[in-house]
């Protein structure tokens, strides 16, 4: 319902990664090794995450350089197993969340 949920609370979280694919330090990368940051926003209805380029020297995230994305619809996928990010890239919901 795009009209109604305009000011609902959002919870943000983030997680760093050293690489696009899992490696020995993916769980706990040291600051100097962080290359990607995954920023998540969780609303009642969705969990939306973008994994973007991150520079550990100046702590900057580049949201123009998206490595991957995740979008889960909580009502139909409460366990977050069906990522529909690529299906919605050009849709209204994606733009609204962004």
């Amino acid at each position: 319902n795009n009209r109604c949920h305009t000011e609902e609370p959002v919870a943000f979280s983030q997680y760093p990664r050293p690489s696009d694919t899992p490696q020995w330090n993916s769980d706990r990368p040291e600051l100097k090794d962080i290359r990607i940051m995954g920023y998540s926003m969780r609303t009642i209805d969705y969990r939306y995450t973008v994994w973007v380029q991150f520079n550990p020297n100046n702590f900057s995230a580049d949201f123009e350089d998206v490595h991957a994305g995740e979008l889960y619809v909580v009502e139909i996928d409460p366990n977050q197993d069906y990522n529909i990010y690529n299906n919605t890239l050009h849709g209204h919901l994606f733009k609204k969340l962004l």
Partner: protein
């Protein structure tokens, strides 16, 4: 649900049937909200009221006061407002990230307490089937055989109870932070808690496979699990595994047992609050630094952005607000032994609002009647006192009933 227990996990699906924690029934509780699903960054974040991008702590290897900015912490703020502030157990993550002294003396009035047996936590103390000792992930133990004859969380409870008794005589406002280790790995807990969760009742996660469309960058390869002796012996493939089904059940069984062990410690502590007569004048907050994957998505441990890793319990007991204050003789927190009581499910709390741990600082300040720290400006590296989380006290009296507004939306 297996056994008469408690919070099934300090995160996601903890169907609460609290053995030792009636406040689950008489408190507000809220879900979600760790800012980063790993210990040190999450703790520094909610204790300073700022997100990891402002504390600049994403790993374990810097101290925010010199690395990002000399930010005041929540306990520091209470200390500066006349409270005796005390830290027992794991509150700040130990080591570099809290300047090796749990941010003492900034945050605490007295030196933080750490259990003497904490140093054995990763030693080979788990008895294997061959009778030898290992550093296992799954580690139910006979406590009397442990070094020192106890476990760290038991010592933490004892020290916290001692401090409550001292505070009763001091008649001074206090802020007591009690940090339990469990259910952190290794899952080392008194073996009798296994009885609460018969293995035949333990199921696998509802989705124990890696989702087909999960980006590889989102996956955490649970390295800390792999390094334990019992998991190494399984020779599991990197990075996706999976662990054998029977071992997945053993992990889940021990996780639940460790949570019930923690539940008992919290029950003992709150019972002591009643004993010293402070429960009608003391706010209690229960929370965690992150959740933990128990096989969902083929993953284990924390280290991800999945709800199972970021979601935490957040309970508030505020006398006279979330429940009526106890009478002089009344008890708010009667202790119930999980081994002798048949405990049913406690009704879930009153709220499922989306909130964040970063709001804890301003919320507690407001509830205590202190000035709420101002909201941080966009760049706050030189601002000593501000917060990036808004107080959620306004939720406390709000109804969960949905009301239709004039434009047809649910309010």
């Amino acid at each position: 649900r297996p056994g008469p227990a408690t919070w099934r996990r300090l995160g996601w699906d903890w169907g609460c049937a609290s053995a030792c924690w009636p406040p689950a029934a008489c408190s507000l509780w809220r879900l979600r909200g760790a800012q980063q699903a790993v210990c040190a960054p999450s703790r520094v974040s909610f204790l300073t009221g700022r997100r990891p991008d402002t504390t600049r702590l994403y790993d374990f290897y810097s101290y925010w006061r010199v690395h990002a900015g000399n930010y005041s912490t929540m306990p520091q703020y209470f200390k500066e407002n006349g409270y005796m502030t005390m830290s027992v157990g794991k509150v700040f993550h130990p080591g570099v990230s809290s300047n090796y002294h749990d941010d003492y003396p900034y945050s605490w009035s007295i030196p933080p307490f750490h259990p003497s047996t904490e140093k054995y936590e990763n030693d080979k103390t788990c008895r294997g089937k061959d009778g030898r000792l290992y550093a296992n992930l799954v580690c139910p133990v006979n406590v009397t055989e442990m070094p020192g004859g106890t476990l760290p969380d038991i010592q933490t409870t004892e020290e916290a109870i001692r401090l409550l008794k001292v505070m009763k005589t001091q008649k001074q406002k206090f802020f007591l932070a009690v940090g339990y280790h469990k259910p952190h790995i290794p899952l080392r807990y008194p073996q009798e808690f296994l009885k609460l969760y018969p293995l035949e009742n333990i199921t696998l996660a509802p989705d124990p496979w890696v989702p087909k469309k999960l980006p590889s960058v989102a996956y955490n390869p649970w390295m800390d699990i792999r390094q334990r002796d019992d998991v190494q012996a399984l020779n599991v493939s990197f990075p996706y595994g999976p662990l054998p089904d029977d071992f997945q059940r053993q992990i889940r069984q021990s996780y639940y047992a460790a949570v019930s062990y923690l539940d008992m410690q919290v029950g003992r502590l709150l019972n002591a609050l009643d004993d010293v007569g402070l429960s009608s004048s003391t706010m209690v907050v229960f929370t965690a630094d992150h959740g933990w994957s128990l096989g969902e998505h083929g993953e284990w441990a924390k280290y991800s952005n999945f709800d199972v890793a970021t979601r935490v319990p957040l309970m508030f007991y505020v006398p006279g607000m979330t429940s009526a204050a106890a009478s002089q003789q009344g008890r708010i927190f009667p202790y119930l032994d999980p081994f002798s009581h048949n405990l049913g499910l406690v009704p879930q709390g009153q709220s499922k609002k989306v909130v964040e741990l970063v709001s804890l600082f301003s919320t507690l300040a407001e509830l205590a009647g202190l000035q709420v720290p101002p909201a941080c400006p966009k760049t706050s590296f030189h601002v000593a006192l501000c917060t990036e989380g808004a107080s959620i006290v306004h939720y406390f009296n709000s109804s969960e009933e949905k009301v239709e507004t004039e434009d047809g939306c649910e309010d």
